[in-house]
Symmetry: C2
Subunit: 248 residues, 2 copies
């Protein structure tokens, strides 16, 4: 394991810039942190470019021989980490994900809170969905907070990033998919008309909901019952309830 001890080392500067969308785009890479995420990355088909280990940290699993590993003193490791109390291990990965495939998807229409995006991916994985579709203005999948919230599901799900979500949905609808828009003025979710075996559930922006052009492509417009005096649900909660029910 090679050692790097200076904050000014160009590799360190490059790793640090992976905290920003610009740096990730320029290097076509992203960084995951913590023993669990690194172990899942190594077990996945993602390309691991480098492993970063804090001096004295015991990863509790063998580091693979084929991947360059770097040992960093505390302050250098902390400078590339996004967390306040870094665990002591991170991996640099090529910014590739598994391309969308399957028959049950969730589409995010400008979902901007990183915690919501990550949590929806984690829940989609658990519910049994096959993939996640992200519109251009969603929180960046490769940001530290989104990755953390996925709890490793980013390595197991398939993804698409269409430049134009409405036309993307239209093409799937043409192939027999139901497109379900989750919206506050929708029809009662539990009394919905039959959904095709292949479907896409669309979750809208936290403040503004599903956008007009996306809504126009929907085969179903649905709303969960709101009892009490609550006006709405958190986007990730609504997504979780609907995804689990659709996969029952």
């Amino acid at each position: 394991m090679e050692q790097i001890s200076s904050l000014k080392n160009p590799r360190v500067a490059a790793w640090r810039s992976l905290q920003d969308r610009k740096g990730r785009r320029e290097q076509d890479a992203f960084l995951v942190e913590g023993a669990r995420m690194v172990r899942e990355a190594l077990a996945s088909d993602f390309e691991v470019r480098a492993l970063l280990v804090r001096e004295g940290f015991d990863p509790s699993f063998p580091l693979p021989a084929g991947v360059p590993a770097w040992s960093l003193p505390d302050h250098v490791f902390a400078s590339v980490s996004d967390t306040r109390t870094p665990q002591g291990i991170a991996a640099v990965l090529s910014r590739r994900v598994r391309p969308l495939s399957g028959s049950r998807f969730v589409a995010l229409d400008t979902v901007q809170d990183p915690g919501n995006v990550g949590t929806i991916i984690r829940t989609a994985d658990a519910a049994g969905l096959d993939g996640v579709i992200l519109s251009p203005d969603c929180a960046d999948l490769f940001s530290p907070k989104v990755l953390r919230s996925t709890m490793g599901s980013v390595f197991r799900m398939t993804f698409a990033f269409p430049p134009d979500l409405p036309s993307f949905l239209r093409s799937f609808r043409g192939r027999g998919f139901s497109v379900l828009s989750s919206q506050l003025d929708g029809d009662p979710f539990y009394d919905r008309r039959e959904v095709a075996p292949r479907w896409i559930l669309v979750i809208g922006n936290e403040g503004n909901g599903v956008s007009g052009p996306v809504m126009a492509e929907a085969t179903h417009r649905l709303c969960l019952p709101m009892r009490g005096g609550a006006e709405s649900l958190n986007a990730a909660i609504a997504a979780g309830i609907m995804m689990y029910d659709l996969c029952r």
Copy 2:
């Protein structure tokens, strides 16, 4: 409306200390922020002790005549606010909630993340539950972050704070309630045995789940299906899925 312009004014110091559990306990009060929360507080049966308004802020609704209101310059208002960009209105309320009543409850067993506690209360309200039971080590219901996450549902739900959750659940079980423990090694949720018309769903700690003594009081131990490779769900997501399904 009286004006206070000094940060050293003893009222200001008292309001500021409502950000901490200790201050809230000593004054038996809490503070809510933002036009929406203040409006809901005024419409509720909570006792509003004071209204705080930033100089120049237009609340867009009439302030009630019977409640003392104070006008504060920017920096003084900011000092009592918990948010980075305060809206400009807040209310000080007596720390009373509506006592538990009804037939469908969610119990939180050491749920410690304020966002989770608030979101579960908001979702319980929307799903149609009647009340929320909090064990002693949960995030404080009256903390700014929990209150914010409830989106006003704190004013509509009923609550209990039993010093000993297991014996509390036992007494409800004795009165014919089903007690449903959500746990990763539970039986399949969707194939559950019949649940009584009156029930309590128990959600456990984010890391450790439902505690042993609480589990021992359960009539049902249930787990949502985990497909894909996901190992667990976020506590608020699991709670949301189960509460909505139980209320269908």
